[in-house]
Every structure is written in C-alpha cells, then in structure tokens.
Point group: C2
Chain length 156, copies 2
C-alpha cells in the first residue's frame, strides 16, 4: 500500500525553511537561477553545503563537478526575486531585474548571505540530484533578517 502522498506533503508544509536562490553559469556563460528551500549545511571541515535540484530544472545541467555556484540566502525584502526564480513562466525574466550582479558567478546583491561554492559531488536519487558544494567564501549581512517559507507562504 503506497503511503498517502498527502501526508508527506502536509509534513513538508510544516518543515519551515530559509528561502535561497542558487545561481550558476553554464560553460557558454549563460546564467541560470532557481529558488530552493532544500539548502542545508553538511560539514564544517571542509565547509560544505548541499542543495537538492530537480533533474528538470533549467540550472540542473550547469551544476556539474567543479562548476561555480552561488547560494544566496534571501532576506525578508527579497520575496520578489524568490517568486521570479520559482515560477516556471518567469524563467526568461530571472535576470531581467536589478537584483543581480552577474559579472562573474551571479549573485543577489544585498542578500542575507552570498555563499560562493564549487560543486564537489552530485548524487542522483530518482527525480533529483543532491548537489554537494564546497564553500569558497561567504559574504554575510550584519543583522539576521532571513526570509522563511512554511505552511504555503512566507513567514512574517
């Protein structure tokens, strides 16, 4: 008997999480970005972080081993870029706004944290890849103001 998927989805509604945007360029220099709530700390030595990425996400193929990526933890004033990077019909508009610095690895200006990483390993699991990224450096805001999502919406 398969478990009711609804039980799982309801549990995941209760798993509150920070809202991050992950971003990278492919080998031709084209930028990609995706909103993610599955970012989590993995190890301190080496500093490493993981994020789960759907195989169908546009950024997926850019996240090969040794690719540079940025994980931008958003702050509460940045809901708009979270929406732009999560809605499929906004795909073509993800970088057509003033949130970004795309001169090198793209990152969101004034984010809560910008964590610059290099992909170390990817682990395939059904529809997703677990992307394990070594942290190169991080730029952090001074005061905690992280945007969080739970129960179907952003938290105040």
């Amino acid at each position: 008997m398969p478990m009711p998927k609804e039980q799982f989805l309801n549990a995941m509604r209760f798993l509150a999480a920070s809202v991050s945007v992950i971003s990278a360029k492919d080998s031709s220099g084209k930028p990609y970005a995706m909103t993610a709530s599955s970012v989590t700390s993995l190890t301190i030595d080496p500093p490493a972080i993981l994020v789960c990425v759907n195989n169908g996400a546009s950024i997926h193929d850019a996240l090969v081993e040794n690719a540079n990526l940025c994980i931008s933890i958003l702050n509460k004033t940045q809901q708009e870029i979270s929406n732009i990077c999560s809605l499929k019909n906004m795909e073509s508009r993800r970088f057509k706004n003033d949130f970004w610095d795309t001169s090198d690895t793209p990152f969101i200006k004034n984010a809560q944290s910008n964590i610059f990483c290099k992909v170390d390993e990817t682990v395939a699991y059904h529809s997703h890849k677990i992307v394990i990224a070594k942290v190169l450096r991080a730029e952090n805001a001074d005061i905690f103001n992280t945007l969080m999502y739970a129960d179907g919406g952003y938290l105040d």
Copy 2:
C-alpha cells in the same frame, strides 16, 4: 588559501531551519535520538527526505540501510526535548522523560509532524553521512507551530 571558516559559520547562522529530532533503534532494540536542523525534502515520488548525520553521533550506526527511523518536526512547546537531544552531556537522559513513545520506532508525542521512514541509502562525505530515507507515513498536527532555530537561538 583556506576560506575563513568563520564566514561559513556566520552564513549558517543565517540559514534558519526547523528543529527536528531523528530517532531509531539499533538491531538490539536500544533507542537513539539526535536533534537535527539539516532535515530537508528530497523527492515527492517516492516521498523521500534527507538528513545529515555526523559519523560520531550515537545514532549514526543505527541508521543502516532498511533501518526504521522517525523524523519528528518539533513544535514551539518542545524546546526542552531539542536541548536534551542536542547536548552531549544529556546523552544518557534522552529517553528519560515523558516526551516519547518508544513502543516501536521511537517518536515524540504531539510533535508538529512525525515522519516515519526507512533508510534507503546513505552517502558518505567527510565527517558526515547523508541519510536518504523513504517516507512510509506521516502524522501531522492541525496547525502550523514549528520550532525554528537561527542566529544562535530559537525563533519566537
């Protein structure tokens, strides 16, 4: 040049997360539990979730393939059990309280969600294992009241 570990740790302070307790019995029936903020949704089909576990954690050796475990997402009234399951010097007291039902796979009564899982795969990465768990069933509270941790403390 190694990146300043402090930059990474400060970024992780800003990565707000739900507080969960993961619990399992070993093959002899001895229960283990550990507070974790690294629980994240992985796939919907199959319903699967991951959690990062330090190789030195007492629960580590119980989380072999096919082991049953429960991921209890805590609610805001359950800070005490979060503390008990995270402090090393409370190790022997983790189950000496009234929070638990240990009749089968241990779980925390009245948690925000109790997600009953079976370990599907583990992936080793330096000091940690990524434990990938298939969800068998989940029991959820009615109203969102998840305990969250960020910036060195519990959030209100």
